[in-house]
Amino acid sequence: MTVSDPVVAGETAEIAANRRLLSGGTLRRQAGGVLKYVLLTLGAGLMILPFADMFIGALRGPADVYANPPRYLPAEPQWGVYARVFAELPMGRWFANSVIVTFLITAAQVATSVTAGYALAKYEFRGRAAIFRLVVGAQMFPFFLFIIPIFFILRFVPLMGGNDIAGQGGSGLLGTYAALCLPFLVTWYGVFLMRQFFLAIPDDLMEAARLDGANEYRIFRSIMLPLVKPAIATLTLFSFVYHWNEFIWTMTVTRSAPELQTLPVGIYLLSGAFESLDQKSLQQAALAVSILPVIVVFLALQRLFVASDFASGVK
């Protein structure tokens, strides 16, 4: 940086003094630099350690766990375990449910965030400030507050799932994909994110299109939407990750509906079946299967992903 700049004629004595000061600290700074990388590497090892432990554990066979003392590294890696999780557990079903639910929710969240964010950013109407306050304020409400009431709102939907007109008698929407998706169709954070992006787009574009006779929906679809593609990519990635991993709600509504369980829920509710020592590797392989798709998608999409988008809520 400044230290390596060519000497500029007329340099003040003050700057020269600073420069001497800096070069005096070079050795110490280099040592500090090495220490930093050592610490970062140790930290990175700690981040990866449980994952490595899982991959190794999945490959252990009965011969390893019942050896005395039990072997940590498998003598003979049991790669067949990944076929076994699909054969012995309802992995296919869980996997399909995870894909279906994540896809539906992500698509809905992007659609509702884009439209609502656009309206809040680009139109002036009575109640806009109030709705925006709702969007910001609602993010402050923790999810645990909603579990009980939403559970029963879905349970008492009239005329669904055997319910009568008063919502009694049946199970309502519980036990359907709707119960898994409906409470997540809108994400307040997504609406907020999209509004911020639309705010940055000049209004002149809308005005010009209006003068050319384009109607409001066409302006939105053909002009505004293409301009926020990066934000859409970011939101898609976040929704995907969040809902692939969603656990508490899905577990609550599918506890008694095994055909609707997703990967994390299925693995959790079946944990009793993994008690025996030689079943642990099966559980570890199942966990690996639940984790890998997210990492693959994340690495594939991360070039679209801008850290600063995520943090735009800060400003």
Binding site: P50, I131, F144, L145, F146, I148, E216, V241, F247, A307
Partner: protein, 297 residues
Amino acid sequence: MRPRAPVGDDGPAAGGAAPWVFLAPLLIFAFVFFVLPLGFSVWLSFTRWNPLGTPSWVGLRQFEYLLTRDDAFWRTILNTFVFAFGFVAIGVPLALVLAFAFSRAKGKAIWRQVYYLPQLTNIVAIAYLWQFVLDDRDGLINRGLAAIGLRGPDWLTDPTMAMISVVLVMIWYDAGKNMLIFSAALEAVDQEIYDAATLDGAGAWRTLRSVTLPIIRPAFTFATITSFITGMGFFSLILAMTGGGPRGATEVTALYTYRMAFEDLRMGRASAGALILFVIIGLLSLLQFRALRERAR
């Protein structure tokens, strides 16, 4: 000039019914899945209700029971504080340090990905992965300690250690999120400001204190308060990792009320408990916000 649509002070123009069409899904959702559940929840907290029967109005009795007679409830509140404060007090500064370290490190994209890895992982896997690593006898850590002749602690079966373990795992899990927030804030700081500070003779420590920290203060406030709210209401990790045990040592209030509802089927009392927790979180967040803003002046 041609007549134009009326334009507001700050630009956005009126578009007839269009904004309401765009907002319709949000408004319907806000009613059905925000306003209605909140109202329902408040109403439920004044009732006694086993969902097999019909709710009966009991006034403030559920609140009175939880606040004055239920020792378990207060124990879970205490556990919630320990969990949330431990998580925020260590997790947020750690994330800031990481973001600092990455901001001038080679290959920062890769460092960030590695530290972000847990954030991509479902919480059940997080809990079970650490159960394996921390297992008293067969876990990687205690095996390692045994190899150098040390006896490792009972990470998940000793009541005190179990709380420490879940806090540490929570910090491990969440470090990547706050790190990203701080990284974004640090990157927004213009390099020229640093150069100017260096030219003015400011050392590294002084630059940090007088230039960098004030600029990222909003991010710090944001990360602290959101982490606090997250920590106070977070129970999925604990549910899957310790189930609230051993002997209730890691049972937090959100988990306690969840079980009260879906295992004991006491919907009224569980709603009251959730509301009390929510009010506590709201008040403390407000206090934090005030305190962090005051210091900024």
